[in-house]
């Protein structure tokens, strides 16, 4: 009986430890992703850049990126424009954003979301092969480093222009 208890305690400990560690890594990951999103803005050209009053970053689906993004939005600007964070649950709810981050925890299919996304939106995803499937940028982890794939067609169809500097660092998918 005692042996089993120890096992259970050990297991629980390990799991909680790993979970904690995992949680820590996850926080770091989304910090980085938030920073990347913020930095993408410098290398992408939107059409109405002159007339827009604020820079809107949208998140669809629950995501841990929300907290770091809000932190960034509080302290920084993009092109002297205030950063506004919006959350959406359903694709129909999506209004115009400069960048729309599609959380992996989103319940909806990519195509369903992409249909409803207005033009001139930089769609950023974090699921395998999502760039291929039509997202403009897709985060990937390569050799324990955060990298991103880009779909040039998607970017072009969205009416966006991507700086060569960015593309140089990206994994080009088609």
């Amino acid at each position: 009986m005692k042996k089993k208890k120890w096992y259970i305690v050990f297991l629980v400990f390990m799991i909680s430890h790993y979970t904690h560690a995992a949680k820590q890594t996850e926080a770091e990951e989304y910090n980085l992703k938030a920073t990347f999103l913020y930095n993408f803005a410098n290398f992408i050209e939107w059409e109405n850049v002159l007339t827009d009053e604020s820079f809107i970053i949208g998140i669809i689906g629950p995501s841990s990126i929300k907290a770091p993004l809000e932190e960034i939005a509080r302290t920084k600007t993009i092109n002297n424009k205030k950063i506004i964070i919006r959350e959406f649950s359903r694709p129909e709810d999506v209004t115009f954003c400069n960048i729309l981050f599609i959380s992996e925890k989103s319940l909806y299919e990519l195509n369903a979301i992409l249909e409803k996304v207005p033009r001139n939106t930089l769609t950023v995803t974090e699921k395998k092969d999502y760039a291929l499937e039509g997202a403009c940028i897709n985060f990937v982890i390569v050799k324990n480093k955060l990298k991103f794939e880009t779909n040039l067609n998607a970017i072009q169809s969205a009416g966006l222009k991507a700086s060569a500097q960015l593309l140089k660092l990206a994994i080009i998918v088609n």
């Binding site: 990347f36 290398f43 700086s163 140089k168």
Partner: protein
């Protein structure tokens, strides 16, 4: 010599240029590397932002194409090495502690850096360490060029100086040589040869003009000098003549002074005789009056006194007329025939008394003084008549001979003659060879004749034999009184 100066200048310039070029080269090198650092930096913005070290390293690897770059690195904003590059064979270089402000030079290796900014946000630093390549090669090339330039310069200088010599230096040297020649010889008739129509030619032409003027001045100077000498000669001559005249005049003055003294002495001496006679007889007369013894000789005394006074009068008159000779200024044309006619008329009584026979030639017209000539002939004639032999009728002839420059007169008589011993004394004033008893007279006559003849520029002399007769000669120059 000028060539070497020019070449030294060129060499100096070359050296300066080379040094300057090396400096510029180094500077360019630095700025070139700085530009590279800048480009790297700009391209490193994205990798730094997205933390893509792989991309950054790949970028630095491109620097391989620039062999002078030895080391390069990108450091992030925390000063940690983000990406690094080193040339094959080059050890890694720690850029960390270097002052990121100015490029640093050490020997032939220098380091530049560029601070990377994105919108005022400091992202990191690019460091590049490179060597100044091929500097030695560059220097050698420069030296090659410099030598080449120098050679061209030498060549050009030689050609140009040869040309200039021909066109400029030679004409000038010839010019100088010629002027030296002219000034050394003092010959202003030489001219400078010239042919060109440039400034040297003009100068030569003007110089020749100047020489011509100098020559003319020289000539006129000589002429003036000659003229001056002539004038001086003339003046000297005039001066000499004046001097001579002065001397003559002073001699005359001395002579005449002497004559005057003699004159005064003899006059007073001769005047004393009659005065003595007068005083003697007056004394005797007075004695007789006082003693009241009048004697038969009283009338005789008075005769003696009268005689004495007459003699004194005659003496004084003759003296006066002697002294007056030559005071008349105007020269006349004197017809001697007229003179003789007057004299013969005057002596009419005397001639008749003495039964003298007078033969007169045709006499000329001479230049002189009428009354003096009359006195002359008068004296000679009266002497001729007076000094006659006893019991011999005087025969007197007056002849004249025309000579080249004068007239030679001769008054010949058959009188008592004069012994040779007295020929000199004859014409001296108051010299009497006979006593008053024998032949009365004042003794002035012949002296007067001499003075008159000499006044007319001639001479008087005598040829005589005792008891036979005398001939008095005198000449009167044709051109008149001097």
């Amino acid at each position: 010599m000028q060539m070497s100066t020019a070449l030294i200048a060129v060499l100096f310039c070359c050296v300066i240029f080379v040094i300057n070029d090396i400096k510029v080269f180094k500077r360019n090198n630095v700025s070139n590397k700085y530009s590279i650092a800048e480009i790297v930096g700009v391209n490193a913005v994205a990798p730094l932002i997205f933390n893509d070290q792989e991309a950054a390293n790949k970028m630095l690897l491109n620097l391989e194409s620039n062999p002078s770059i030895l080391n390069a690195a990108i450091y992030n904003k925390n000063g940690n090495e983000f990406a690094v590059y080193r040339k094959v064979g080059e050890p890694s270089f720690p850029f960390m502690n270097k002052n990121a402000r100015r490029p640093m030079f050490e020997d032939q290796i220098f380091i530049v850096n560029y601070r990377i900014f994105n919108d005022k946000e400091f992202l990191g630093t690019v460091w590049i360490r490179s060597e100044v390549t091929a500097l030695k090669g560059i220097i050698v090339d420069y030296i090659k060029v410099a030598i080449f330039v120098l050679l061209i310069a030498i060549f050009t200088t030689v050609i140009v100086s040869y040309f200039f010599q021909k066109v400029i230096t030679n004409p000038i040297t010839a010019f100088v040589k010629k002027t030296k020649e002219i000034s050394e010889k003092g010959d202003f008739s030489l001219r400078i040869p010239y042919g060109s129509r440039d400034e040297i030619g003009i100068l030569s032409g003007e110089f020749n003009n100047m020489l011509l003027q100098i020559k003319q001045m020289e000539t006129s100077l000589k002429e003036i000098n000659a003229e001056l000498e002539e004038r001086v000669k003339l003046r000297t001559l005039e001066l000499e003549t004046a001097n001579r005249e002065l001397r003559n005049k002073s001699e005359e003055l001395v002579r005449s002074n002497f004559e005057l003294e003699q004159f005064a002495y003899i006059a007073s001496h001769d005047l004393q005789e009659p005065l003595r006679t007068i005083s003697n007889f007056v004394g005797l007369f007075k004695k007789q009056i006082v003693e009241n013894k009048f004697d038969k000789s009283v009338p005789q005394y008075l005769n003696y006194i009268l005689g004495a006074t007459e003699r004194m009068q005659a003496l004084i008159t003759d003296l006066l007329s002697y002294s007056r000779i030559g005071h008349q200024k105007n020269i006349q044309e004197v017809d001697c025939n007229e003179v003789m006619q007057e004299i013969i008329k005057d002596f009419d009584a005397l001639i008749k008394t003495s039964n003298a026979k007078i033969y007169v030639d045709k006499l000329p017209v001479i230049k002189g003084h009428f009354s003096e000539m009359k006195s002359l002939f008068q004296n000679l004639l009266s002497n001729a008549i007076k000094f006659r032999n006893k019991n011999v009728e005087p025969v007197i002839s007056i002849t004249v001979q025309e000579r080249n420059k004068d007239w030679l007169f001769a008054v010949k008589d058959n009188g008592i003659g004069i012994s040779e011993a007295y020929h000199d004394k004859l014409f001296k004033i108051f010299q009497r060879l006979h006593s008053q008893k024998e032949f009365p007279g004042t003794g002035i006559g012949l002296a007067q004749c001499k003075k008159i003849v000499e006044l007319h520029g001639g001479n008087i002399w005598v040829e005589s034999t005792l008891n036979i007769g005398s001939t008095f000669y005198f000449n009167i120059p044709k051109n008149g009184i001097i």
